[in-house]
Symmetry: C2
Subunit: 355 residues, 2 copies
């Protein structure tokens, strides 16, 4: 089967994305998508892009989109890099900033793509164990390194890290790039964007898949000083000159400009999350504090793996990992109020069988 | 400027794509785009994809698109890999099939992204000089290797290679993957797709940017035996699980299904190309036989670099490389009949000053 495969990839274990069912209709709380649609302006911009100009290559520099993002974040376009989803942006970051032989640090429980990138690019890494409550042991990141990757808020726990801790990590690793993956930051954590001016080693990565309801459009971006952004462009232009198609550029730009809609959607998800968290606590769940659009929950009496199957049988998908320390936890994406109502009712019934 | 850059990329020289002017209006014959729009069905499918479902991740396996391509090419979906433009697909091929320390072969004059990929992934390569007329010296590819990359027809020369030569290269390199980059094949070369069943080391790469008028949508694909395709999926899923957005998948699928439109557009470009070639010969140009949607031309008396500037001043962009052996050549994309009429008239006037 692996005839003709590069030696480099024979032993690779790729990332496993959450299930995307194509047949049966589920309440889908397993991949942290937004329950609300993109803004009308976004959809209109996409439809407008469906014209004869598609025969032309897109702008390889995504100029209009980077200008919109710069205005939104109070940065310059030279401080922004845009890619085909934050997964691509993160992969480019690993290539651009980390050197084989110099150890990169990230938590043991975090976005499971980080160790996959490191393996793909032959880089050394060390997984720092989170503490018992899945808090970040900041001290362990202060001894210097070949790079640091931190998700804030973290996935799949939802826990956030204060900016003061990020600042300490930046200062203690001043010789290396520090990536802060803010995929979920809009739902309640403090963004490190305001530190960019002060820390030339800081790269902040964002996605439009969660808070902007555009998982299907594949747009992510990185922010940092212009020298770091130039490194990302060097990698991109050695890999694929045009990673973002015309339609995605147009839709993403319109989304960034529709700031009011974005804020309203985020506020709604946060309200639903907080109500669901309270309800799950009443049902006896441990619910970790979440600054994201999902909840990380566990129950003393009801094994997570069995709840996962029970929910699936009743048409509800959530995410579970067969991994030490978190194998009694479920990650539940925040859906609409109605979906969360159903979810809480069904999981309450399932838990009833154990208590 | 290169503080925090990975040692791996400090000395990288990225690929330089052709100019994409954003202000002035040009007759754009510099990046091998199609002069005709995508089919109506393609544009309608893109507009239909602009809905609430964009909040969901796309199908990571591009199932519907792969099924359409399989039907079109007489293959199975397991023999097809889809990516974000053929540049991404080629980059994945270099990672998936070539191993550092084993020399990969490609011509000295060919798509200039190949050596960039090899450098990015730390791979060894040897550039085999094309013969005086830019023909492929097949014998030089028959000594065994760590991999072969051949563009058919070649870029920027437009010259094609008969299948019998491809077959010899496949047989002489039976321990290694042989990539045949068929970006331009629809305009007149023989495709190697029919060899896939017989050669487990063959990978054929295609783009929808040229013959399908979809440069702006970023869709490319690879075809080969299922084991090779699995290697590409291994790399992709270690890099970016969802490289093709929902809109691109929908548009590309519709384009593949609109086979009549596709054939009509290709035939029209070929007719225009052949007429322009005849006219340029009358003007004293050497015109290399082209099986692509561009012409590679040179003139004994009029230096290519000066023609390039003269054309640009008169609002016409073509492509020129500051590279030994081809620095007196221009690559001219085939536009509409009207655009080629203007191009031939203008270049005729420019050449008049030298003769």
């Amino acid at each position: 089967m692996k005839e003709f495969w590069s030696d480099r990839i024979r032993d690779m274990v790729p990332y496993t994305p959450g299930e995307q069912p194509r047949d049966r209709k589920f309440i889908k709380l397993n991949t942290n998508e937004n329950p609300y649609p993109p803004s009308d302006g976004t959809l209109a911009a996409i439809r407008d892009a469906a014209g004869a100009e598609l025969r032309r290559y897109p702008d390889p520099e995504c100029t209009a989109l980077r200008e919109a993002l710069a205005a939104f974040h109070g940065l310059t376009p030279e401080q922004i890099f845009v890619g085909n989803g934050s997964d691509e942006v993160l992969a480019f970051c690993f290539q651009a900033f980390f050197t084989p032989g110099r150890t990169v640090l990230f938590p043991d429980i975090t976005y499971s793509f980080y160790p996959v990138y490191a393996s793909l690019f032959g880089q050394d890494y060390r997984e720092i164990p989170l503490d018992g409550d899945f808090g970040l042991p900041v001290e362990a990141f202060l001894g210097g390194s070949g790079g640091v990757v931190i998700a804030n808020p973290n996935a799949p726990t939802g826990r956030d890290i204060p900016l003061s801790d990020i600042r300490r990590i930046l200062e203690a690793n001043s010789e290396a790039a520090v990536l802060v993956d803010e995929a979920y930051v809009d739902f309640g954590a403090q963004s490190a964007v305001e530190l960019i001016g002060g820390y030339p080693n800081l790269v902040v990565v964002r996605t439009m898949s969660k808070s902007r309801s555009l998982a299907g459009l594949r747009v992510g971006y990185a922010m940092g000083n212009a020298g770091l952004i130039a490194a990302l462009n060097c990698v991109k232009n050695s890999f694929n000159s045009y990673t973002l198609d015309r339609v995605a550029q147009a839709g993403a730009e319109a989304s960034v400009r529709d700031a009011d809609y974005f804020r309203a959607v985020v506020a709604r998800v946060v309200r639903t999350r907080d109500a669901a968290a309270a309800r799950l606590k009443e049902l006896g769940f441990r619910v970790y504090d979440s600054a994201a659009n999902f909840l990380f929950i566990s129950h003393d009496k009801a094994p997570a793996r069995e709840l996962l199957s029970g929910l699936r049988e009743r048409g509800i998908l959530v995410r579970w990992w067969d991994k030490p320390r978190i194998d009694n936890c479920l990650r539940v994406t925040i859906g609409t109020d109605g979906e969360m109502e159903t979810f809480c009712r069904v999981i309450g019934e399932l838990v009833g069988a154990y208590t």
